[in-house]
Symmetry: D2
Subunit: 307 residues, 4 copies
């Protein structure tokens, strides 16, 4: 690594801020190796979280936030050096993410607008570091709402009964969605904000750990359709919502966040739906923000959330 890149820690600010995410088989010395490397390269660690699933032979997960003045000029060099000096030795999977690079988030939605609007609003207010290149819906209804935020809206009709997946295992509407997205450049995150169609395994496989769904129940209770109705029928005393990464198995992916709200015999199905909106919005927005800030690491079918 050239001297040019060994900078003194400078003014703290978004510009020089980055996050290191890393995971590997646990063994002694990882933290010493990583922090020694960062120190040698003039980096000032400002936050650090780590987790070991089992000190004896488990996996190790690390997230560090740091400042490095002039980071933008030497990111590539830093990455090469990290791979060479640390990661290869520990067989790490890792990435280094400059904080100022906002993630590109596409939102899929059907007719219910509450989760969508909440995300648009929070991004608009600067609560969430994201760019939203587009919203895609299987209904035309929400076009005006979306466009009023200056965000592009695409309507892709998706028949109730999907046509058979085609050549690449994708349905026709999915191929159309990919086309639209590809035209706009790479996507970091897809959020299903009450999107009421099931995506094909082939489509999901293209976005591993990059699709977040909000399910309107406390999973694993009430997987599948109509959870509020089933909650009302079972007579539960709390209703919940769950944000999770989408995998090939419906409502079975790694859970990122959950929360609940108290209900009683007084609440009818319609009341549950209204109360549920609030909890859905909060759960989804927390999960999305954590993802955007690289706080969620996936360990098999579970998540580690450094919130």
């Amino acid at each position: 690594m050239s001297v040019a890149c060994i900078a003194k820690p400078g003014i703290v600010g978004q510009a020089g801020t980055a996050r290191l995410l890393a995971t590997c088989q646990d063994r002694p010395g990882i933290v010493a190796a990583v922090s020694g490397f960062l120190y040698r390269h003039g980096v000032n660690i400002t936050h650090s979280d780590q987790h070991s699933t089992d000190p004896e032979g488990g996996r190790f997960f690390l997230r560090q936030e740091f400042y490095l003045s002039g980071l933008e000029n030497c990111l590539d060099e830093l990455e090469r050096a990290f791979e060479h000096e640390v990661a290869s030795e520990y067989k790490m999977q890792w990435r280094l993410v400059p904080a100022k690079r906002k993630k590109r988030m596409v939102i899929l939605v059907s007719r219910l607008d509450h989760a969508l609007m909440d995300l648009l609003w929070r991004v608009g207010r600067g609560e969430m570091p994201a760019d939203i290149p587009m919203v895609i819906s299987n209904h035309p209804d929400l076009r005006a709402h979306v466009e009023s935020f200056g965000v592009a809206f695409h309507h892709v009709h998706v028949p109730e009964a999907h046509d058979a997946p085609r050549g690449r295992g994708l349905t026709l509407p999915e191929e159309r969605m990919l086309e639209i997205m590809d035209a706009e450049g790479p996507i970091d995150l897809m959020v299903l904000a009450r999107y009421m169609r099931i995506l094909s395994p082939a489509f999901v496989k293209r976005f591993p750990q990059r699709i977040i769904n909000i399910h309107h129940s406390f999973l694993p209770a009430f997987e599948g359709a109509d959870p509020y109705r089933r909650a009302a029928e079972r007579g539960v005393k709390l209703i919940g919502a769950t944000a999770h990464y989408v995998t090939g198995k419906l409502d079975k992916g790694p859970i990122i966040e959950q929360d609940v709200i108290r209900v009683s015999h007084r609440h009818r199905l319609e009341d549950l739906k209204i109360l549920g909106r609030d909890i859905e919005r909060q759960v989804l927005s927390r999960a999305v923000r954590w993802h955007l800030e690289d706080r969620v690491l996936v360990d098999g079918n579970k998540t580690i959330v450094f919130a």
Copy 2:
């Protein structure tokens, strides 16, 4: 009803306090009929809750607390009059419960003591209006704990694999338990405070809406065995507990109360169990107190809780 029983509302106190619980097909005029009756008989209503499952042809549920000076001397008369003047007309199921009559509660437990001890403690402190004639356990371990509260302890061995139900559909240990309980007089409530054996349908049928179980999950998630382990494996972000009436179907009875507590990737199975104890105790104690105060009405497989 004789004049002797039409008392003036007297000094407010437990002695003259009672609760009226009633349910019938909903139709206009019920509240007018009930409250008119009570007024005519000099009763002062101090709390009143009602619920209608559907104003058009649903069921109506009523709970009223009232004071009547000299109640103890005219309870029978009041009951007869209510049946005659009100209940028969509306085809009500109803009961009238003097508040000073404490309910008799038997606790069944296995080896884990936290839920049991919490109940013994709260009853001892006067937080819950109950008499505890005995604790029954399929293990001898907790005898000293129970007896230190001045409560009788009975150990009834229950083999892991139940012997086949016998003549009346009861297992041998269940027959033994009934014998022990019968010797002590009628039971108003049986609490399964982490009792780890399954009761036979025949046994349960003898105590309709009078057995409360604490299940260590947020039902309907993780019905059945080992919910904490399964919660850990699924990677949920909240764990819960559910208190419900026991019916013939395992973990399917009417839910009385539920609550949850936040957990994270840091919590191992053992941590979940420790955290869970606190939420189990709170959920169970709330459900039991509500039952003891006649606040829980059952509507099919749901409860109405006038808390």
Copy 3:
């Protein structure tokens, strides 16, 4: 009361739905008198809540929801009859509110938009039964946001140091606000959705129990200015929000609703403000909805909420 007005309970629906709110000195027979009256006039009570602050000489509070087919044609008669047959006898303060009459709600706001937008959104979605004739702000910033909901926006400049109250005890800006509101007709509710100016006692007195403020702390902690900063300095582990009726004493009015959210040493002042927005919105929206549905009764400096 004329026969024309004694209707048979008809199809359940908003049209025939009303709420009776009543309070008086507690004494026996009130419920019998009210429900007998309603029954005689063909009214079907669908919900009923009551509260007695003290069975011995306290106050009695009642809220009943009922259906009466043809209500719109006989409301006046029903009111006259109720006053004559019941209310006068018990010296009740009472009102009878048809559910289909939406309340007229004016929102005052300064620069922070989250609480305002949440209310506009919920009203727009039909979650809250209100008409919003206008939003008034001491800053021009939010005009476009408000007008995009089809709601009129008025900017009334309010100097930091209020000019001395004038003739009627009102400041000049307050006189201007009254003028604007008077031009639009009567106001049922004024909501201070993070309105950062203090209203004069004379202004407040014109809207008794009709101004709701959201204070961004868990009152009585952190009354007055800058609660988030003071919460950060005190190192609290939860931050809260409080919705209360405005009285002449700053942040001392009757509390309608409160809630909290967990924070930690990791949260800086800016984080508290962002987290606080969510809790402010929820607390305010619950309080406003309860007021709009006539669920909040005031007892001195406390509220009774029949939620």
Copy 4:
């Protein structure tokens, strides 16, 4: 450091487990220095938490859990080496605590037993790593309860109006308490489990950050006496409890943990006290456990809790 002490990471277990707590002025390289040191000495870090109050010139706080086989034989050496090789350079305040050394906790109590019993119970069950050499009370009432746990009970009468502090600024009862405690050896933690007397500044000064009090309100609301009564009078919708370190200023010390529970107009003062007991117990037990596990670091008048 001698070779004897450079051990290979061994079987994970309490025996070789320790915690490093450290704080110093923040500057680059601290983590690298600490983790490099630990690695060189064969230590395997299993958990690590850090916090920086401000990356530019704030304070840095570190807590690390680690395993070192044979730790018990080389703790002194490891400490000397850490001071020499790391701590002196960064002017750290630090301590190294073997996990198997249980802290010695004295409980002070008056007449209310719920917080005391909860602690005795949790310690007895192994939920909290502590030894309890004694309970001291200004009332004799709870002797039997305490002794049934096999814990010594001392009654020290404390007059309502304290006699004037004496020579060393201590009251006579405080001198007596110190005498009793000194006879039993050093104390790591004193818990005021609803102890209703105020300790003198001179007494408190002897146990800096080693006295935890449970206050039965959500501080800073309702500091001082009778918080439940004042909460009832103010009409709050949530009541709370706060565990904090005791300092010379009443109810002003660093807050460790807080929580709340929902109440309504239905709850009378007596109900608040009963509900409050549950939240007091939970808040206090969490705070005490965190202290016992060295998870609480004090930063001025705030705490950093690595929970």
